[in-house]
């Protein structure tokens, strides 16, 4: 019997991140991992999270993998890139939040500069989710990293203008986020593009739910987005990112369950998102990263 292979009229845009060793994501011509439908030109990649301060809330099983590097973001980034083979580093500027250290944009910029010198893999840079503070910090950091072609986040419907302008003037890509609402996601992309920001420098985030904590909502909205993108909706034909690690390690199962539960939780969550069309998975545990990289290889080959 003849196999029915869906022919899509459009493809997902390709976003290039990084300058020294740039990575290309996106470019899908069909649904991931369906033999014959998608050529998988750029297999999904894995970013590892690095904080600019020690993440106190992380459980010991997670912290122990990084040892003293947790206190030094540059060492931490090198560890992730060199030892754990992260494709990208996701720098979270947690110290800038007014409720933590309230570090200034200048301080954050210095950390960023050092990491950029220390590692050659591309960088994702995200703020602390405190909107006003983020605007000040990210504008400065985007300028510090000018020419490095990083991926900056996170733009939301209520707070996108400053970050968009900063990314535009410093040549970075941007993460646009709408919390499980495909219509707002599309609207936000239009608003960002209205500022003359190129659509092929946007990466989508629909918020990430961990296994057992809303994964299925994100999964189906990502799937819907991908179908719309492949069907020709230019404002939804962007690659997608998921912050898997932060969500998986926040669950009570990961924190208090038997040994290795957290790793399994992170792997299970990440695998689901791979199948829903994720292009970048931001992860925490080195073992989970190793597992998911194997899974990507196996799926992309199938």
């Amino acid at each position: 019997m003849e196999r029915l292979i869906e022919k899509w009229q459009d493809k997902i845009s390709e976003v290039v991140i990084g300058a020294k060793k740039p990575i290309t994501i996106g470019g899908e011509t069909g649904i991931y991992f369906i033999d014959g439908e998608d050529k998988c030109p750029n297999p999904p990649c894995v970013a590892m999270e690095v904080w600019d301060m020690e993440p106190e809330a992380w459980p010991e099983t997670l912290k122990s993998n990084f040892g003293s590097a947790l206190k030094d973001p540059v060492e931490w980034a090198k560890l992730c890139a060199d030892k754990f083979s992260a494709d990208l580093i996701c720098l979270r500027l947690a110290s800038t939040h007014p409720d933590t250290k309230n570090a200034s944009g200048q301080e954050a910029g210095k950390t960023l500069e050092k990491i950029l010198k220390a590692v050659s893999v591309p960088l994702i840079v995200i703020g602390s989710s405190a909107h006003e503070k983020d605007n000040e910090v990210m504008a400065h950091c985007a300028n510090v990293a000018k020419g490095e072609n990083c991926l900056f986040g996170i733009a939301t419907q209520d707070n996108y203008k400053t970050l968009t302008a900063a990314c535009l003037s410093s040549g970075h890509s941007i993460i646009s986020e709408a919390p499980i609402d495909i219509n707002i996601a599309k609207q936000l992309n239009i608003l960002i593009c209205d500022m003359q920001f190129p659509a092929d420098k946007i990466v989508l985030h629909h918020a990430t739910g961990a296994l057992g904590y809303g994964l299925e909502y994100t999964y189906s909205i990502m799937e819907r987005t991908r179908l719309a993108g492949l069907s020709g909706d230019k404002m939804l034909s962007m690659p997608m990112i998921n912050f898997v690690g932060q969500e998986a390690w926040r669950t009570k199962e990961a924190k208090t369950g038997p040994k290795d539960t957290g790793i399994l939780w992170e792997v299970a969550t990440a695998t689901a998102y791979l199948n829903s069309g994720a292009d970048i998975l931001v992860m925490n545990h080195p073992k989970a990263v190793e597992q998911i990289k194997k899974a990507i290889k196996a799926l992309a080959r199938a």
């Binding site: 707002i184 599309k186 239009i190 719309a228």
Partner: protein, 261 residues
């Protein structure tokens, strides 16, 4: 929705004059205007008054392609003019149009194969346009059969159920809607459906033409229409089209859905 811009047609006085005087600027402007208004293809018709239609077609196609490589729908009843037009197209062309008349099918379907063209098939034959949807479906079936016979993918066929002016043939519109719905069942992949939109308002007072066109278009979209030969530069018509597609869930809603189209 696949939009075929109708403006480059010798029936329009400005186009007839431009062909006669070889005034490229007029054609360039019309082509670019329609493309900027989101036309996916441009209809090219030299008009009835042309003294040398073959030469006129050649000039029109070449002139249009000086400013855009968009898909062209070669619109003529003459075989030689059709072939001249098709042979010059840079993008995959559209034949406008065949009908269920045996001789027409025998002449045009091989051309579609030869030039890898899509083909518009009118549900009419020597006897004219059937009065109901059943008659139209019979002819649609013949056109689908011709696709199979000549080795053309059925999704390359655009069935045109032929709308007649509402002022003289009022019962036809609902028969056309039914034909659009039913023709999806004729083959797998289903043939596409198209309409020459402006015909519906021919002869109606000028002040109602646009209203009739856009009301008819939204109703046709609700019945599953895939393509239309229409005036892409009519903003209200385009906005109605986009909104109808939105309501049919062909596009995802967002507050700026009109600009996002």
């Amino acid at each position: 929705m696949f939009i075929i811009g109708e403006r480059i047609n010798g029936m329009f006085k400005d186009v007839a004059k431009a062909i006669k005087e070889k005034d490229k600027a007029v054609i360039h402007a019309l082509a670019l205007k329609q493309v900027s208004c989101k036309a996916n293809a441009l209809d090219v018709n030299v008009g009835p008054a042309s003294a040398n239609p073959k030469e006129a077609m050649e000039w029109l196609v070449k002139t249009i392609q000086e400013v855009t490589d968009i898909t062209l729908a070669i619109d003529t009843t003459r075989q030689d003019v059709m072939e001249t037009g098709l042979s010059l197209c840079k993008a995959k062309p559209i034949i406008n149009s065949a009908n269920a008349n045996e001789e027409k099918m025998k002449n045009l379907f091989p051309l579609a194969k030869k030039y890898n063209a899509s083909i518009i098939g009118l549900t009419m034959d020597k006897a004219g346009i059937p009065k109901d949807s059943e008659g139209r479906m019979e002819l649609a079936m013949k056109l689908v059969a011709a696709c199979v016979e000549y080795g053309i993918d059925t999704s390359e066929l655009y069935l045109d159920a032929v709308i007649l002016p509402v002022n003289v043939a009022q019962p036809h519109a609902k028969e056309v809607f039914k034909t659009i719905r039913d023709s999806k069942m004729l083959a797998d992949p289903a043939p596409k459906t198209v309409l020459g939109l402006s015909n519906v308002s021919q002869g109606s007072p000028m002040r109602y033409k646009n209203l009739i066109n856009r009301t008819f278009l939204t109703m046709a979209i609700a019945n599953g229409l895939d393509a239309a030969i229409m005036d892409a530069t009519d903003k209200e018509l385009m906005d109605s089209l986009i909104t109808a597609e939105l309501l049919m869930e062909k596009q995802l809603y967002c507050d700026s859905y009109l600009e996002a189209y």
